[in-house]
Amino acid sequence: MNTLQTDNAPSLSVVLPPFVIGALAFFSLSLLIIFSGADILGPFYNGRLLAITHLAVLGWATMIVFGALYQLIPVVFETALFSEPLAKASTYLFTISTAFLAYSFWTDSFSTILIYASSLMFFSVALFVLNVLLSKKNGKKNIQSRFVTTAVIWLLLTALFGLLISINFTFPFLEKVHLDYLKIHAHLGLLGWFVLLIIGVSSTLIPMFLIAHQLNEKKLSGAFYLINFGLALLAIDWIIWNGSILVYFYWLLISAGIFLYLSFVREAYVKRLRRELDIGMKYTIISIIILLIPVALSLLILVQINFEYTLLMRITTLYGFSIIFGLITTIILGQTYKTLPFIIWLYKYKQLVGKVKTPMPKELYSEKIGRIQFYAYFLSMASLASALLFNKILLLEFGSYFLLLTAVLYNVNVFKIILHKIKTEGL
């Protein structure tokens, strides 16, 4: 007799707060983008852009990942979360430190309060990582769980690098300029934490949602080694030589790994039994195709075909934007509709199934709002990407307001799901 994954499901008080905080952070960052105006079109290392970036990757993306991961640990590891109090502590400390960090950047307080915000951030991340690793100890060891555990270790290294950079602002001790460390910090976070985590979780969820079986998991093993080795070598190279000729080789390793993952998803898509894609899966598949854009842009930045400095800066910002918004935000917008309604549905209706007629999980949110949000989001993405590339303030404003509309609609659906009142009919 097998045990069920829902026997290990964590409490709602562990899973829900990250979804609420994440949704509000998404709304806040869309407002900050409007307030920033033309600053976004400047160099990527200005305080306002750094505040928005950190609010996006931490307050929005990582926070939702926390919630989703606490729910998915029983699915991916096939074991219970190690500690619920630890999860709650890391969620709240992480929230405080994100707000503190964003404020430090927004007010250009690099040499004063940033160090305290980064220290608190490192501590809260360490609590989260500890909880995941201790959960994994008794869990299933497969390729998906290896992706997740490796991703959280990269997250810890990202937070450590962030902390070292912030210490260096107050007590200079590092040899290189900040920008050299910033690119290592950014890649450890975007590639090591987000991309590896997305691969690990999506390679469990996508076949499950599309009902695709007998997939070639060797592609995932290949992706695991290629991306991890490529990233580790890239980081070491940047630390020691600040980018040798071998960087092209590491790019090739990482890109090959990403292509293997894309091939795995394509196989699941082709073999899927469920032909029609719902709104959540449309977002998910589009986000994974978008992964090709940062692969192409990173090569463009590496080769640098006589670009003017300002154009190179804009392409670099676009590169980060394509990962943070193109890949990460898109997949989160989609997977929220694939996880949150089920979490609430299980909580509200598990004891009622069979006794009364219950709604389906997808009836907990408005599909119509979801569809409008879908178009508003992609309109916003196209406008913002064009604004960054062509340096057009009008496109930036247009894209910012559509992003705000997306965030409002997303919040409406998220709160509609969370505040759902039990509806039943007699059988």
């Binding site: 097998n2 499901a9 096939e78 469990t204 499950m208 069979g354 006794k355």
Partner: protein
């Protein structure tokens, strides 16, 4: 103890009941989805069902099992329903009925 014909009739009736139990994610009933491997009624008050899930990691597994038990209980309140979850053989698409395939758009 019921006769062989009565046992078969009750098993068929329970099978029909299970058509009302949905997989909430796939939105297809568990019989057409091919999740029921066997259904045995012992002629008194015991029902043993061997079933699977479309994936061992299915987060909705115990909600589906609770639904199976409750649905049978609604019609046969005295029956003791033993649902055994098995993953050998693993579920595959070939187990979906023709009606199920049509509903999934396959």
């Amino acid at each position: 103890m019921k006769s062989e014909e009565e046992i078969k009739n009750i098993e068929a009736a329970i099978d029909q009941l299970l058509y009302t139990v949905m997989d909430p994610e796939v939105e297809l009933n568990i019989v057409d989805l091919g999740l029921i491997y066997s259904l045995v009624y012992d002629g008194e008050n015991g029902v043993e069902i061997k079933m699977t899930l479309s994936t061992p990691a299915c987060p909705l597994g115990d909600a589906i099992i609770a639904n199976v038990k409750q649905t049978i209980h609604n019609k046969y309140p005295d029956f003791v329903v033993d649902v055994q979850l098995v993953f050998d053989p693993p579920w595959s698409a070939t187990m979906i009925s023709e009606q199920g395939k049509a509903k999934l758009g396959m």
